[in-house]
Amino acid sequence: MTSTTSRAPQQAPARRRRPFNTRRAGAWALLVLAIAVSVLPFLWVLRTALSTNSALAANSASLLPADFTFGAFMRVFGLQSPADAIAEGGSGATIDFWLYLKNSIIFSSITTAGAVFFSAMAAYAFARLRWRGRNAVFSLFLGTMLVPPIFTALPNFLLIKNLDLLNTMLGMVLPYVFMTPFAIFFLRQFFLNMSREVEEAAMLDGAKHLRIFFQIVLPNAAAPIATLALLTFIGQWNEYFWPLLVGSQDDVRVLQVGLGVFKSQAPQGSPDWSGLMAATLVSALPVLILFAAFGKKIVNSIGFSGIK
């Protein structure tokens, strides 16, 4: 009845270690901690999304999905019948995922394209043209950044209603499509730093403002414009309140508003946690993809390179 357990001797590392450096180790530890802090919530979201709702509460401490299922993702893509969803403890509400996704893309694209283009024009006027009252008007513009959006929601809503544009894509994009004060401010700062010489040379050659704007300023500002477009797009993608007010009908409902079906359905009820998490992951994907594609550009352009 004797059993001996033989332990393998510890292998000495083959290559020579660098002498232990406390500061380096501290930096690494901080880095690992920072990564953990930012990634763990995502893992938790994923784990919850792959759980069955009715099993979540009893297994609130486990890092692994409770009663693993793809049901929540099926709910998101509308592949699960309400009866099955309710059986899983999920929300019996269904969302027309692809339609809402299409609406989200249209809404975000139109507002981004419009806002960036018109803001660039305005920024050009504020930065490169000299006209009476320019700075006063600009201050006024900046001042509007101080007004909380909730203040303008109701007047805007009534305006859109009186224009008979409720539940239309036009009504949804109108408040955003012409400009945002932030975009004007952001681009103006950049345009101010552009060199005068190129512009003056163009003027000597007989170019008018339109041509200068389109052929010199815009190409030179490609990086900040891309940054602004990306930031605007992400902001619009996550916009909730206005689309909820104006686009409550199915054919114009955007994804963020659609996610509301996973919230609490009945008074004092619980949200469909797994459905909500799955939907949140899926709806964040486009933004993550955009970041992956343009992330470098953002970083480079925000740290204004100083090359004039």
Binding site: A58, A83, I86, K161, F262, Q268, S270, P271
Partner: protein, 447 residues
Amino acid sequence: MKKSLGAVAVAAVMALSLSACGGGSSSSAESAKGEINYWLWDANQLPAYQQCADDFAKANPDISVKITQRGWDDYWSTLTNGFVGGTAPDVFTNHLGRYGELAENKQLLAIDDAVKKDNIDLTQYNEGLADLWVGQDGKRYGLPKDWDTIGLFYNEAMLASGGVTEEQMKNLTWNPQDGGTYEQVIAHLSVDKNGKRGDEAGFDKNNVAVYGLGLNGGGDSSGQTEWSYLTNTTGWSHTDKNPWGTHYNYDDPKFQESMDWFAGLVEKGYMPKLETTVGASMADTFAAGKSAINAHGSWMTGQYTGYQGIDVGIAPTPVGPEGKRASMFNGLADSIWAGTKKKDASIKWVEYLASADCQDVVASKAVVFPALKASSDKAAAAFAAKNVDVSAFTEHVKNKSTFLYPITDNTAKVKGIMEPAMDAVVSGKVPASSLTQANEQVNALFK
């Protein structure tokens, strides 16, 4: 003695057939067509009502019903928005806490003429439900669709390990002085981190692992699931009369004594602190094994019995000092928006929703209790088929131990005053005598 099922069914069918062939004038016959929009909030009931809509469309080929489901959290804001923007649904599920103000703001269509014309028998609904929907102006703004009462959901395993029998749970008593056997059971089922029970010496009330009683919140003005099943056993009632009372009674010593007892549970460590309930779902907390008993509404039955790995029993609420149980009796109805362009079709749909044809479908899904007496029994049977005993909820109706949801003007303002006042009491910051002052503010609204 109850009326036999058959008689009620016949009456319902009669009423239906009458409404089906009792066409109005030729002009209204023309408008009884097209697509009507119908809104509801509870996704769990969506399959049932979708089936009602399909059946209805079969019977009325000229009318189609488009159902939109909006979760409770967004429902009222989008609805109000729709009233303003002219995009509200033709027909929507209405709530007693809201309808007074909607009627006052002329957003609802009175349906008295249709009810009279189509001979809808209002006695076929559970007692009191139909009366709730008659406004202060004496006009009817909805036909009852379902009802709910309060019961005690309990964790069977915790009761077994605590040696509390089902029999004891069914015969709990309560009074505001020492809490009766209800408090004894709650204390016994509270367990601290070291495994000491709430009724043992050395119970650590600051480190509780399992609370005897779950807490949903302060309960604002109605205390629907929180405390009204206790306070109203003392002979106290929210208002001087119901519906359309004009005086609230939060200054009554009986009520304040009950609330002091309720807040005392938190102090003793038998109930979670109020601040821990914010943003949490009481039902989920129960499923996580953090509370042994939850007083909650019958509409939550599906959620409680659906949790995996937990056996749930349902007991009736305790018997109070006057020898009776008490439960708030809340009922929903379907109302028609005053701005509808399809009035006749909407009326047809509302009448169909309130008829046995639809309510039996709702009953068969075992989610809520339909308003029709006959359909209520069918719902109980459907729950039984799922091995859920709902007698704790139906008993209230059978024994007439219900009181109606308090319906008054200014409900939103009353709630706005009472919510912080109640929260302050339940969190132990102030004694319940402080409610006298809040009560003065509330009653000033009616002067």
